[in-house]
């Protein structure tokens, strides 16, 4: 739309305002880089993986245990939450009675808005003691996975629901007119068509899982180690930042900003992946 003369000032104002949001993205990256760069120049990237351990105050920067922690917790949680979320979407769209579906969907929406610290609180006070009865210390990889799965379940379920809803009604009616049963329609028509949307939702859920801090920090025990069992405590990259940021100085602080950059990069990869899948969506 080519603006007319009287709108020129308005457009300049709009440009300025949106420039601010662009600048914020750049600022975030710039500041992370600025804080992380000194360390990157002195020790390079490899020592983040080759050092003996994570003792940043003594100049040892191995972040592999935290990477492992983040990876295991997020993927464990995704593995639990994604199928449940998909089933939940199918249930509320195709199987639940009308009123039940409305209530159910409302509940899921409400749950998606519950703050992570509340999930963390419940995990700390209810789940961790339960797991401790199974095997000490309770605060563990398992607790982290369960709480995180619970936390992202509503979000992925909402995404899956939306993706299923985008399958054109005409196709479903057409399939029904061919005499296919409900199960067949869902399996052969709806799911294949909604798959890109569902995958996008799952990938974005994974992004949220990797980035989650508080809930995991509260239940995972935060010991820097590569866990050998589900009952071992672990520390994620995000928890590491939250725990050590308060007293980190110099190289240590830079190392934390470095791990923030790694988190950003992971999220970027996930976003691009999600977008490329979304772009393949046939309908719409």
């Amino acid at each position: 739309m080519s603006p007319c003369r009287s709108d020129r000032n308005l457009v300049i104002l709009l440009r300025l305002l949106s420039a601010v949001s662009g600048v914020i993205v750049l600022l975030i990256i710039a500041f992370l880089l600025k804080e992380a760069l000194p360390l990157f120049q002195t020790i390079g990237l490899t020592r983040f993986f080759s050092d003996a351990s994570w003792h940043p105050t003594e100049g040892r920067f191995n972040i592999r245990p935290m990477l492992a922690g983040s990876f295991l917790i997020s993927f464990g949680a995704m593995g639990l939450a994604a199928p449940l979320a998909l089933f939940s979407g199918i249930f509320s769209l195709y199987y639940a009675p009308q009123k039940g579906a409305r209530f159910y969907q409302g509940l899921i929406t409400l749950l998606a808005g519950i703050p992570s610290v509340v999930y963390g609180l419940w995990g700390l006070l209810v789940l961790v003691p339960l797991i401790r009865k199974l095997q000490a210390p309770g605060a563990s990889l398992l607790a982290g996975i369960l709480i995180l799965a619970l936390m992202i379940l509503p979000t992925i379920a909402l995404n899956a629901h939306a993706a299923l809803l985008r399958v054109p009604q005409a196709l479903i009616r057409g399939a029904a007119a061919l005499g296919l049963s409900r199960g067949q329609i869902v399996k052969r028509v709806v799911l294949p068509l909604a798959l890109p949307g569902i995958s996008t939702g799952i990938i974005l859920g994974a992004g949220r899982a990797i980035g989650e801090t508080m809930a995991v920090l509260m239940v995972a025990g935060n010991v820097v180690q590569i866990p050998e069992s589900l009952f071992d405590p672990v520390r994620t990259l995000t928890a590491n930042i939250a725990l050590e940021m308060s007293y980190a100085l110099g190289d240590h602080r830079a190392a934390l900003f470095m791990s923030a950059l790694i988190l950003m990069a992971a999220v970027l990869v996930l976003v691009v992946a999600a977008e490329s899948i979304e772009a393949k969506t046939v309908y719409e």
């Binding site: 025990g221 010991v223 007293y247």
Partner: protein
């Protein structure tokens, strides 16, 4: 519509800004104190007293570990850093002012039948060589080892006294504040932790189910810390970057004065000798 929105925006701004200018008008001076989680609760109490007698001053206290106290004092983020140990050689550029003394002791859950542990046993537990309470006279239950995260002087003093290397310790849970350690332990009867005596004694008095163990057969009492018999002893320091002046100086003087002895004792710390 745009006008309504703008009006709303400006109005809300009006609500927010006056407070700001108002406060600035009253010239309420802020003192920011950050650092050791052992010192923070004590200084908060002292600050409350100080504010009562000097209403024009507001003292903000935030914990985060002695290293943060050093760091924030150096960077100027805090007027005063809180450090629960002596300054190290490379920290001598800062000025330290002791306000009290404290010890570090081992704590267990109240329901744990173990009454005392030798130094060797403690070392073995923290090195992961003893993994079950049975070996040291308790129930058959795996030991949950609680360790402090780096940057806390409690960790440094503990490892120094027991000649442990931080790399040798195999913890099950990592905690930050003393209180977090006490809280974690109070919820887990098979855990072991080491914390500030002051913090632990105060919590025990408040009814938290923990007990303080002697170290090298010396009971962790205020008396033993005061007379120097208790082995892991440390000063609680206020540190500043420059020679203190003005309100900073007045606060430090107040924190070292007789007026706060009662507060220090209430918090189970040892006041400066008179």
């Amino acid at each position: 519509m745009l006008k309504i929105l703008l009006l709303f925006w400006v109005l809300s701004l009006q609500i927010f800004l006056p407070q700001h200018t108002h406060a600035a008008g009253k010239e309420k001076t802020h003192l920011v104190l950050t650092g050791s989680s052992t010192v923070a609760p004590l200084v908060s109490e002292i600050a409350r007293l100080f504010e009562d007698s000097h209403p024009e001053i507001q003292v903000d206290v935030q914990s985060g570990g002695s290293s943060r106290g050093i760091a924030d004092a150096r960077r100027g983020l805090a007027e005063i850093g809180l450090v629960s140990r002596d300054l190290k050689e490379n920290e001598k550029d800062l000025k330290a002012f002791s306000i009290a003394f404290d010890g570090i002791t081992i704590i267990l859950h109240r329901d744990n039948p173990v009454k005392k542990l030798s130094n060797a046993e403690i070392v073995a537990i923290y090195q992961g060589k003893i993994k079950n309470w049975e070996k040291v006279g308790g129930h058959d239950a795996p030991i949950t080892v609680i360790n402090k995260s780096a940057g806390h002087s409690t960790l440094e003093l503990f490892t120094a006294y027991f000649k442990l290397k931080s790399t040798e310790i195999h913890p099950d849970v990592i905690i930050g504040d003393n209180a977090q350690g006490i809280k974690t332990l109070s919820g887990n009867p098979d855990a072991i932790a080491y914390v500030s005596i002051g913090a632990a004694a105060l919590e025990a008095e408040l009814g938290t189910p923990i007990k303080l163990l002697p170290v090298a057969n010396i009971s962790p009492t205020l008396e033993n810390v005061q007379n120097g018999r208790f082995p892991i002893r440390r000063p609680l320091n206020l540190v500043t970057q420059k020679k203190p002046t003005g309100w900073v100086l007045r606060f430090i003087q107040f924190a070292r004065s007789k007026d706060v002895r009662a507060v220090i004792q209430e918090q189970y710390f040892v006041p400066l000798p008179e």
